[in-house]
């Protein structure tokens, strides 16, 4: 909306042309989302606490977590509100990619919201059943996959880019493209959700990965830079940098309240939505494999759960002291803040490695 206003004003005052630059709007989006979250955050936390929308803590988890019972949850609604308002303010609303990522994010947010609502308000510990949750996630992810396949006008829109190998580009058939899109979106969504088990653990890697994806989106949407770096040119993808900026800003502001000891948790409403957002952006900018590298912490957390479950079912033995992986380290004696900050450091390194693929190819 502000872009349209700036373009209209630029007809008379040349200064307003500066808002045509995606880079500036991405930074302003981050700041706007941050500002909105800071303004709304304290009131929302007070409301959540007043309505007793508090987190229940798993009884078989680390004993140190029992004190967290009752901490307000569903703070992800704050993140999503900030992201949506900011994207509508600073994004180019004629760009269909902006609507795809925004609607996907909000749709996954609704799934998480229903799950959280049933858990904390209806006191139903199971929330939304695993089958229902997976079914809705699958439907949305498949719709996104079908749409992106249908909307693709260039081969670059549906090719799989292999990091570090400039000449290895795999053209995908419709079935493979849609399946890959499905796996990336649903996988990332659930992986972020599994990671969201310690104060600040999920949100900071999300901020870092979205920051890096903003760079990938900007480069992919710029004809000159994409040609120079040898990555596919995807017209319109640059606008996703604004959306990623909004995620980073809203995420940082949320971390303000979510840092140990947390005043609020994001809940499934935030975790599922943010994961889906990262997955969808990665699919559009054709960097699914780079997301796999940069979101290594999310991947390892999800894989640790799979290994634990498979091992217990097959052999009756546990590989980790507890899954997801962050609980394993807690039970090994690491303090919660140590686990969190060390996982952040690992994510920083992985994000740098991911960004290196822009040049090392």
């Amino acid at each position: 909306m502000l872009l349209a206003l700036a373009q209209w004003l630029a007809q008379d005052v040349r200064f307003f042309s500066v808002f045509n630059y995606i880079t500036l709007r991405a930074v302003l989006a981050a700041m706007t989302a941050l500002f909105i979250s800071f303004m709304v955050g304290p009131a929302m936390i007070r409301k959540l606490a007043a309505y007793k929308i508090g987190q229940s803590v798993r009884s078989d988890g680390p004993q140190t977590h029992l004190v967290k019972a009752g901490t307000p949850t569903m703070g992800g609604a704050l993140i999503l509100t900030s992201i949506a308002i900011t994207t509508l303010l600073w994004g180019d609303l004629h760009n269909h990619y902006v609507w795809v990522v925004l609607l996907t994010t909000l749709s996954f947010g609704v799934i998480g919201w229903v799950d959280d609502y049933r858990k904390v308000v209806h006191r139903n510990p199971k929330g939304l059943s695993a089958r229902a949750k997976m079914s809705w996630q699958s439907i949305i992810a498949l719709v996104v996959g079908f749409y992106l396949w249908d909307a693709a006008s260039l081969p670059a829109h549906t090719e799989l880019i292999v990091p570090f190998f400039k000449l290895v580009v795999l053209p995908l058939s419709a079935a493979v493209f849609i399946t890959l899109t499905y796996l990336v979106i649903v996988g990332t969504s659930n992986a972020v959700n599994l990671t969201d088990g310690l104060d600040g653990l999920a949100i900071m890697p999300t901020v870092m990965v979205s920051g890096a994806l903003a760079i990938f989106a900007y480069v992919a949407g710029n004809a000159v830079f994409s040609k120079y770096l040898g990555i596919p040119y995807i017209p319109g993808a640059g606008e996703l940098a604004v959306f990623c900026g909004a995620i980073a800003g809203a995420g940082l502001a949320f971390l303000w309240f979510n840092a140990y000891p947390a005043e609020v948790f994001m809940g499934d409403v935030g975790a599922l939505a943010l994961g889906a957002a990262l997955g969808t952006v990665a699919v559009i900018v054709r960097q699914e494999l780079v997301l796999f590298i940069m979101g290594g912490v999310f991947v390892v957390e999800a894989v640790s759960v799979m290994i634990q479950v498979a091992s217990f079912k097959l052999t009756g033995k546990r590989v980790f002291r507890m899954a997801p992986l962050h609980h394993h380290y807690e039970l090994k004696g690491w303090k919660e803040t140590q686990v969190v900050v060390r996982f952040w450091i690992i994510t920083m390194l992985l994000v740098l490695l991911g960004l290196a693929t822009l040049k090392l190819r």
């Binding site: 500036l24 930074v27 606490a49 508090g54 004190v67 000891p261």
Partner: protein, 53 residues
């Protein structure tokens, strides 16, 4: 500051209050992270000067 110990001292654990609110202070990790966030914000502001000039 050990928030858990402080909570036990003031007996708020049984009331189900949030762990940070019960302490009624800003714990050290919280303060550190908020200073990091402030720094990131200032860096972002600095970067905008590349374009806004």
């Amino acid at each position: 500051m050990n928030v858990d110990i402080q909570m036990k001292k003031c007996g708020t654990q049984a009331l189900g209050e949030t762990h940070v609110r019960a302490a009624n202070v800003m714990a050290t990790p919280n303060a550190s992270v908020r200073f990091w966030i402030t720094t990131m914000l200032l860096v972002l502001l600095g970067l905008t000067t590349l374009k806004l000039r």
